[in-house]
């Protein structure tokens, strides 16, 4: 009897957990769809910003600008996109593993590494991590935020880069390929990597009103578009991975319920058989 009660209690608790994972799966799926739409729009913005910066990088003026010229400074800054919440499969651990690999490579080549991190999980991880300088942390950003949310980050990146605090800036985020496929990208943001692109037309552009004004505005838009794309892609990937994680949690819960139900039936059957045996035994003893 005690065994049956115990099994009933376990089945109830697994059913409750299943309800929660089911709800989380549905919420993740609907949010993912919304963020996917934003990702498509942000991609168009990012591609145009990219192509304009590529055109500018071909000009003579840009070749002498610090944002385009390879730097002697070996200090490196990483902008890392993690999530605020857990239960999203390997989303955060993939990002952290990629970051750690880069830090180890930097250590071997004698570079120092600094980090600006988005997301509570990343902030906790990197604050405990020795040997890396945590420059800034940002939490609770919207899934597809306004472009001006990144103004303080762009400000500290531009100032740090111009002031010689770091010579290379990389961005680490999870690219959303499809619902079933997401991959971690570790890309160089600054100095803007040279592009050997045959399709880039050799048009000579006049920069108006001054080279500096155009380069400043273009770099602001470029950084904004890259950060925005990374954030939106990360959000979409986070929801896709959470959806899959919750889906498999759901399946595990169903399997567990099935297994426990079989065990419960066997145990109940055993107690009924025992009672019957006792009754028959008692009746035999009387006659």
């Amino acid at each position: 009897m005690a065994q049956t009660q115990l099994l009933n209690r376990r089945i109830r608790s697994v059913k409750n957990a299943k309800q929660i994972t089911k709800a989380m799966e549905v919420v993740a799926a609907s949010r993912m769809r919304r963020v996917q739409e934003a990702a498509t729009k942000t991609r168009a913005y990012g591609e145009i910003a990219d192509s304009i910066v590529r055109q500018i990088s071909n000009t003579q003026e840009a070749k002498h600008h610090p944002f385009f010229r390879p730097s002697q400074n070996t200090a490196k800054l990483y902008i890392v996109f993690s999530s605020d919440r857990g239960l999203a499969g390997a989303f955060n651990s993939n990002i952290f593993n990629n970051s750690l690999r880069s830090f180890n490579e930097d250590k071997k080549t004698g570079r120092t590494s600094s980090v600006i991190v988005f997301g509570r999980k990343g902030a906790r991880f990197f604050s405990r991590f020795e040997g890396v300088n945590l420059v800034g942390e940002y939490e609770n950003l919207a899934d597809a935020p306004d472009a001006n949310v990144f103004a303080p980050v762009i400000d500290s990146v531009s100032n740090g880069f111009s002031g010689g605090q770091f010579g290379v800036v990389n961005i680490i985020y999870t690219e959303f390929v499809s619902t079933l496929s997401q991959s971690v990208r570790n890309l160089q943001l600054l100095p803007v990597p040279p592009v050997e692109d045959e399709t880039t037309q050799k048009v000579i552009y006049e920069l108006e009103p001054t080279n500096d004004a155009v380069l400043t505005e273009a770099m602001k838009l470029y950084l904004e578009a890259q950060l925005m794309r990374a954030k939106v892609d990360s959000s979409a990937s986070e929801y896709a991975m959470r959806m899959l994680a919750m889906n498999s949690a759901n399946r595990n819960a169903s399997d567990l319920i099935e297994h426990l139900t079989l065990e419960l039936n066997a145990s109940r059957q055993a107690s009924i058989t025992q009672e019957m045996a006792e009754i028959t035994g008692g009746a035999n003893a009387v006659t």
Partner: protein, 141 residues
């Protein structure tokens, strides 16, 4: 005709062949027609106007409030990219007035250079929005 594309962080706002585009740049407003010399320009917050056909009057022009950005012109195409673009359908005069008041408050309370720059940009953008809302109202009268 010149192909004009206006893209903001929230998507493409305009993508079509047009006769003329008036672009607010940091050196003043420039008019862009077909075969304009190749230019990449830094834009200023203001009103960007599009004349789709040469026969369109000033009242028929389409107006957008932009918060700065970059314009790339190469004779046959012109692309304008800005983080915030408001179409005349998206803004009413009251809303623009309220947003302008909020931006003025933000400007007064900004304490770092980055915040002051952002507040100034937002203030200019909302002034442009108000201008676009007024242009639309005049057009409908």
């Amino acid at each position: 005709m010149i192909h004009f594309q206006l893209v903001s962080s929230s998507g493409t706002k305009f993508d079509s062949d047009v006769y003329e585009v008036l672009v607010p740049t940091q050196a003043g407003t420039i008019a862009v027609f077909e075969d304009h010399m190749p230019v990449i320009g830094a834009a200023a917050p203001g009103v960007l106007s599009v004349r789709e056909k040469s026969s369109d009057s000033d009242d028929d022009m389409e107006h957008f409030a932009v918060s700065g950005g970059i314009v790339q012109i190469d004779g046959k195409t012109a692309r304008f990219i800005s983080d915030e673009v408001t179409t005349s359908d998206e803004v009413s005069e009251q809303e623009a007035q309220a947003a302008l008041a909020r931006a003025e408050e933000l400007m007064a309370s900004a304490d770092t250079q980055a915040l002051v720059n952002e507040a100034r940009r937002s203030l200019h953008h909302h002034i442009a929005q108000l201008h676009v809302a007024k242009l639309r109202k005049r057009h409908h009268q």
